[in-house]
């Protein structure tokens, strides 16, 4: 185990080419002025043409006819390009041999499992929509064949199908009796807990400095998830602190006691006031994030941490993880803009929710 740990930490320390490559790719990411140009487009096709001719998405969109392509297809192409970029990065110095670097695939697997559960639970199943959004481009990297998912009829079948995958024991515990609907919330918590546990575990295999940085980066992301979910449960469902705590991810950078202080707020206003007194609240205020748009503020905070980690670190795992987050963020921004263009949302409103 010690030899294994030492070997892995050696790999992490000596991936400078990957770190350099990521910095170059980061330099090509869209900047505020690029988003401004995009928001100035009048139609989706114009926006797609801009992305094709003036941004690094040009390669991904090279074979797409931006005059006729559907908006959904353009968004799929963008998401696919991010995944392939991630694959290229992890293949570059064969980092993909390390368990940690498969975080993206595991995250996508979990996202698809949750989508499948939502689909199985739906009264009015829209198979066409479900199939449309199936990301088959990652199929050859996943631990189960995604193509079979639309053909499953029940949660029980799903559990059986996940045989020989790490998800089976988790899902089996949540299997409802007699063909009833599964508790989606419990499934989500269980799968996310598995994801972050695995992430923290594999992060621990690197040297101390790398592990510490990864714990911080991932910890902030977990905190943001917990804060947003905690706020929603408090504000919209008026749940008690203990109930909220039981449904939160049991990780994070912030101490459990401080998080509980938030969950135990009397109402939404109290929650925001308490949040304002926390480290995150002060950080949001210092950076001018509108804490009342908590979703966007949380995204911006995660973005800020990721960008700082990318610029300050030399360790490949930290840089890869941070950059993958930035890539996902960039595609989310672009999709938001495209949808705003499609539905004629004013640029000033779109700008508010962009994370840049």
């Amino acid at each position: 185990m010690e030899t294994e740990r030492k070997k892995r930490s050696d790999v992490a320390r000596f991936a400078p080419a990957t770190v350099a490559k990521i910095r170059v790719l980061h330099g090509r990411q869209l900047k505020a002025e690029d988003y401004a140009e995009l928001m100035a487009c009048r139609t989706v096709n114009e926006a797609a043409a801009y992305l094709k001719t003036s941004t690094h998405f040009g390669d991904a969109l090279s074979a797409v006819d931006t005059n006729t392509a559907h908006r959904g297809m353009i968004e799929d192409v963008l998401r696919k390009s991010v995944f392939y970029e991630y694959k290229r990065i992890t293949d570059f110095e064969r980092l993909n041999k390390q368990g940690f670097y498969n975080f993206c695939i595991i995250r996508e697997e979990i996202a698809e499992l949750l989508r499948c559960i939502r689909y199985l639970n739906a009264d009015d199943k829209n198979a066409v929509k479900y199939i449309q959004n199936l990301p088959l481009y990652i199929n050859k990297y996943t631990s189960f064949d995604m193509q079979k998912l639309p053909q499953l009829g029940s949660f029980g079948e799903l559990v059986e199908y996940l045989d020989k995958t790490p998800y089976k024991p988790i899902m089996k515990k949540l299997c409802p009796p007699g063909g009833e609907k599964a508790d989606f919330t419990k499934c989500e918590i269980a799968l996310r807990t598995y994801y972050f546990s695995r992430l923290f575990e594999t992060a621990g295999y690197f040297d101390e400095k790398t592990t510490e940085k990864l714990y911080e980066l991932v910890g902030v992301q977990v905190d943001m998830i917990n804060i947003i979910n905690g706020y929603r449960m408090n504000a919209y469902f008026h749940e008690e602190g203990k109930t909220i705590e039981s449904l939160m991810l049991p990780f994070g950078k912030t101490a459990a006691k401080k998080m509980f202080d938030l969950y135990d707020s009397a109402d939404a206003a109290d929650f925001m006031a308490r949040l304002g007194r926390t480290y995150y609240g002060r950080l949001m205020h210092e950076n001018g994030f509108d804490a009342y748009d908590l979703e966007t503020a949380a995204q911006k905070l995660k973005f800020m941490y990721a960008r700082k980690a990318l610029s300050d670190s030399q360790e490949a795992p930290v840089v890869v993880y941070a950059f993958e987050h930035l890539m996902q963020n960039e595609v989310s921004n672009v999709i938001r803009v495209i949808e705003s263009v499609r539905y004629g949302v004013p640029a000033s409103e779109t700008e508010r929710i962009l994370v840049i």
Binding site: A63, A69, V128, L136
Partner: protein, 647 residues
């Protein structure tokens, strides 16, 4: 010496029918600056300003169309053959050329459009090569919905989920991103099929109407069409090029003539027509007045009345600077700031002397000065750049001061033997060993320049009968006395002699200060006007107190500003010392370091010195006497360069 050209005010009057010929004469003279006559002669019931429609505009528009159709750039050419040509004839000529060009252009456009159409069709049809059925007969099926199109590859894999649906998709070809094919669906379930394919981002491909037969035959057919239309387009292009070549000189002649007529016609709006007579006004340099009058010899009915422009108040005369050959290039700095007023002063010679002196001091190096001079000569003579002429003068000055500093491309030893052989021990002057002298010297030059500027202001303002500015202002006699007394007092104190005793301070410092404080009322008194406290006595005292303080501060800062001259002397020497040191550290690369180092220092120091001296000129010198409110003298001339027809 520099001066402002004296102008004669001119009033030209004659029969209205001779207006165009008159405009031609004044345009040909090249020395008449026209002003709107309505400034002098107010339009009334009997008089009006002619604003007719330009009859030459349609012909020029045709020329513009020709230019945009085939990218011709017109140039000014001799057009004597069109001297007596009527407008109608010229219009007919250009129109006929346009029609012929348009026809050829349309042929070419038609061939290009068909070519594009066929190329696009080929792209589509090539993907259907696997189809062994007549495309048209498939498209005309009545029981089935048939659709040709493409699916992203990811979506093609998802078709397997719809095996139970009533449609069939036949894959014909694929590339990296898409799968091309055709689907068939019964009409009854066409809508559902369409929805499914839409969800898979299916893009329908329209097969053009002229595509017939099986895919393979259609491709062959389209390729033949492409070849045919490519040839047709190339032939049309060739014919168009030949047509343009044949007619270019004719077009340029017509362009020249029509532009001339158009510009002259536009000048009609400067005249005023009273009854059946016209009036034109403007200015002519006094030196050219006689020649201008003689030019009207062939138009005896047209009367030309002239008088000196200082006796004419209605319009201020335009400014034309007269400069000596040596100072003329520096006129560009004066024009940059703004032209002087007619009763002002042309500062070009002062700029030339001070700029050359200061730059020479700051950039002093014999070798580098020669290089700057030669570069300037090249830019001036070959590229016709005014800055090149400036650089030649600056280069010479730099070379002279470089000789005094003993600096030749940064080395300070080369000229020592020359001086010693001449018995001169005090040269070369080593700036780095005499830093104080350099800095004090720079301040001394600054003081001298400021005093000269003040003297200029005094003379100019006296001429303008502005006694407040010439006597009582901070740049007038009082300011000059105050400044000189202060400087003398400070210098004397430095040299151990105290002159600030007795009546020195009260007479030469306090009295001028008091007079400057009361400059406005005193100025009014001398001019015989009544002075009023606009905002009260308190405000007058407070504002003048602070203004006097500002004057005092201004003297100090303006004087110390010249320290930069010394600073640049030292920095130039310092930078070259670094270059020399590098050549000593890397002796094997010393020629390269020497060359690159000198180029770098020349560019950097040259640019900085030029900018700093210009700053001194504008802020420290011009601000003392110059207003820059003059209008440029622009003689009437046809301008061929900037026309819409030529862009």
């Amino acid at each position: 010496m520099s001066s402002i050209e004296r102008m004669e005010y001119v009033n030209i009057s004659g029969p209205a029918g001779l207006l165009d010929r008159t405009l031609r004469v004044i345009s040909d003279s090249g020395s008449f600056h026209i002003e709107p006559a309505s400034k002098v002669i107010a339009p009334s019931e009997d008089s009006y300003v002619p604003h007719d429609d330009d009859p030459y505009a349609p012909a020029l528009a045709v020329l513009a169309d020709i230019s945009s159709m085939c990218g011709i750039k017109y140039s000014e050419v001799p057009c004597d053959s069109l001297k007596n040509a009527s407008l109608q004839r010229m219009f007919k000529t250009v129109n006929s050329i346009k029609s012929r060009i348009a026809k050829k252009s349309n042929d070419m456009q038609y061939a290009s459009d068909r070519l594009n159409e066929n190329e696009q069709a080929l792209t589509q049809v090539e993907h259907l090569m696997g189809l062994d059925v007549d495309i048209r007969s498939l498209m005309s099926c009545t029981s089935f919905r048939v659709s040709f199109g493409k699916l992203p590859k990811d979506s093609y894999e998802k078709l397997s989920y719809y095996e139970d649906k009533p449609f069939v998709f036949i894959l014909l070809s694929d590339d990296d991103e898409y799968c091309w094919g055709v689907y068939f669906s019964p009409l009854s379930s066409a809508k559902e099929t369409e929805r499914i394919f839409e969800s898979l981002y299916y893009e329908r491909v329209e097969i053009p109407g002229f595509v017939h037969g099986k895919a393979e035959d259609a491709v062959k057919n389209i390729r033949e069409h492409i070849e045919k239309y490519t040839k047709r387009r190339d032939d049309a292009q060739k014919a168009l090029d030949e047509l343009i070549k044949e007619n270019k000189s004719v077009l340029c002649e017509h362009y020249t003539r029509l532009t001339e007529l158009h510009e002259l016609f536009a000048l009609r709006s400067k005249a005023v027509i009273t009854g059946d007579r016209f009036d034109l006004v403007g200015f002519v340099p006094k030196r050219s007045a006689e020649d201008f009058r003689k030019a009207f010899g062939e138009l005896p009915e047209v009367g030309v009345m002239m008088k000196p422009s200082d006796k004419f108040d209605a319009i201020s005369p335009p400014i034309k600077l007269r400069n000596s050959k040596l100072a003329e290039p520096f006129g560009m700095f004066v024009e940059m700031y703004g032209l002087p007023s007619y009763d002002g002063i042309n500062p070009t010679t002062l700029v030339a002397l001070t700029y050359t002196l200061l730059f020479g001091i700051m950039f002093g190096d014999l070798g580098q000065g020669i290089c700057v001079c030669l570069l300037g000569l090249f830019l001036w003579k070959k590229k016709n750049m005014r800055l090149g002429a400036v650089m030649t003068r600056l280069g010479v000055s730099s070379a002279i001061f470089g000789t005094l500093f003993g600096s030749v491309f940064g080395t300070e030893e080369l000229l020592v033997p020359v001086y010693r052989s001449m018995g001169i021990d005090f040269l070369p002057f080593r700036s780095m060993e005499n830093i104080n002298t350099v800095l004090y010297g720079a301040i001394g030059i600054g003081v001298a320049i400021i005093i000269i500027s003040m003297l200029v202001n005094i003379v100019v303002k006296f001429r303008q009968k502005d006694f407040e500015s010439s006597v009582f202002s901070n740049n007038g006699i009082c300011g000059l006395v105050f400044f000189c007394a202060l400087i003398f007092g400070v210098v004397s104190a430095f040299m151990g002699k105290n002159v600030m005793k007795g009546l020195y301070v009260p007479l030469l410092i306090i009295l001028p200060l008091i007079l400057m404080f009361f400059r406005e009322p005193l100025g009014c008194a001398v001019a015989g006007k009544k002075f009023r406290f606009e905002n009260g006595v308190g405000d007058f005292i407070a504002s003048n107190f602070f203004e006097c303080f500002e004057f005092f501060l201004g003297y100090a800062t303006n004087t110390l500003s010249f320290v930069r001259v010394g600073g640049f002397v030292l920095s130039h020497a310092g930078m070259m010392a670094v270059v020399i040191s590098l050549t000593e550290i890397y002796p094997h690369a010393s020629p390269v370091i020497m060359v690159l180092g000198n180029i770098f220092v020349m560019c950097l120091e040259g640019l900085l010195s030029g900018i700093q001296v210009l700053r001194l000129e504008f802020y420290e010198i011009f601000s003392r006497f110059y207003d820059g409110s003059g209008r440029p003298f622009v003689p009437v001339k046809v301008n061929f360069g900037e026309h819409p027809e030529n862009t």
